[in-house]
């Protein structure tokens, strides 16, 4: 009887350990002076995010289809130029940075937020997430292309 109860007890304990492995370790307190990671906060709907981050970065990339970034002269005050292509990090560096901006902005598109019309953006939809992955890839490619071009110029 005792032996049978032992089998039962061990089975249940084994299943519980399997179900919650290392839970205590994962919740270990943060180091002294450290704060828990922040949750993302929403300040804009999808339309505002597009116009604030993705649209300007895309336009830098589109511009260099027709205008060679090497030919852009720095602005009058490059460090505060509002045109990235004529800024202190202008020319090909600006293209590189724009690609990076697109890839990183994909992280902002997966944060649940409303569309411009107030309805929730379908951030959970599989095709939405696929488009996000594609944006990351293209952004990274643009960034690499900018780096390559800078290396060879």
């Amino acid at each position: 009887m005792v032996r049978g109860g032992g089998v039962l007890g061990l089975s249940v304990i084994g299943l519980l350990l399997f179900a919650f492995p290392g839970d205590g370790v994962a919740q270990a307190p943060a180091e002294r002076g450290a704060a828990a990671p922040q949750q993302p906060r929403i300040h804009a709907n999808m339309l505002q995010l597009m116009r604030g981050v993705l649209y300007p970065a895309s336009n830098v990339i589109f511009t260099v289809q027709s205008d060679d970034p090497d030919t852009f002269k720095p602005g009058l005050r490059p460090s505060t130029s509002s045109d990235p292509l004529t800024s202190a990090y202008g020319g090909w560096a600006a293209v590189e940075n724009a690609g990076l901006a697109l890839a990183e902005s994909a992280n902002l598109l997966i944060i649940p937020r409303p569309c411009g019309n107030g309805k929730p953006a379908p951030v959970q939809a599989a095709d939405w997430q696929g488009a996000g992955a594609s944006r990351r890839r293209h952004g990274s490619l643009q960034s690499r292309a900018g780096q390559e071009r800078r290396r060879h110029s």
């Binding site: 032996r3 049978g4 109860g5 089998v7 039962l8 089975s11 249940v12 299943l15 399997f18 943060a30 180091e31 002076g33 450290a34 704060a35 990671p37 922040q38 993302p40 906060r41 300040h43 804009a44 505002q48 116009r51 604030g52 981050v53 649209y55 300007p56 970065a57 336009n59 830098v60 589109f62 505060t80 130029s81 509002s82 045109d83 990235p84 292509l85 800024s87 990090y89 560096a93 940075n97 690609g99 990076l100 901006a101 890839a103 990183e104 902005s105 994909a106 992280n107 902002l108 997966i110 951030v123 959970q124 939809a125 599989a126 997430q129 996000g132 992955a133 990351r136 990274s140 960034s143």
Partner: protein, 184 residues
């Protein structure tokens, strides 16, 4: 008797297993819907700064000296202007958008796995880091509101808030002795 007890043990094990597995399957994604993807890091902190925060800040700083209402759309096609102030969403709208960009980019500064340009992990867990990230959010939204009012004095004030937010963090993590190898 012993066989019966072992049999009960097996049955209970199976029952508990079914309950636990049932819990797991309840968390499976619905058809056509993916699980929420985790944020992915593509650039160092320096690259994020130069890719998003630096250009957005420059739009705000430009609006201090040049009235956004007087900036004309780029020719021949504002839709693809690389300068936000002369784009289709130019003028004061560009300043509003730049404020939004700063506030939202703050989310990118707290993604685990972000590295500094020197290859060390960005100190996103530090209490002061998080405080200054919040300051950046506030500065972005202050700019957004000032731009909505289309008041250049308001932008002067908001640009000051932005500068201050930048300085607080840069003073500790960027302007450090030893240059690039020590700075984040």
């Amino acid at each position: 008797m012993r066989v019966r007890t072992v049999l009960i043990g097996v049955l209970v094990t199976v029952a508990v297993g079914v309950v636990l597995l049932g819990g797991v399957s309840a968390q499976a994604p619905a058809r056509g819907r993916g699980a929420a993807p985790a944020a992915r890091v593509h650039g160092t902190l320096l690259q994020v700064m130069r890719g998003i925060l630096y250009p957005a800040s420059n739009v705000i700083f430009a609006a201090q000296s040049d009235d956004p209402a007087t900036i004309k759309p780029a020719t021949p096609d504002p839709a693809t202007s690389p300068n936000p102030l002369t784009s289709s969403y130019g003028g004061w709208t560009a300043v509003e958008n730049a404020g939004i960009a700063l506030a939202e980019a703050a989310n990118l500064l707290t993604i685990p796995g972000r590295m500094c340009s020197n290859g060390k992990p960005a100190p996103i867990q530090n209490a002061d880091w998080q405080m200054w990230v919040q300051e950046l959010r506030d500065a972005g939204m202050a700019t957004y509101k000032a731009a909505q009012s289309k008041n250049q004095d308001g932008i002067l004030e908001a640009a000051g808030v932005v500068s201050e937010a930048c300085s607080h963090c840069h003073d500790k993590y960027r302007e450090v002795p030893g240059g690039v190898k020590n700075r984040c």
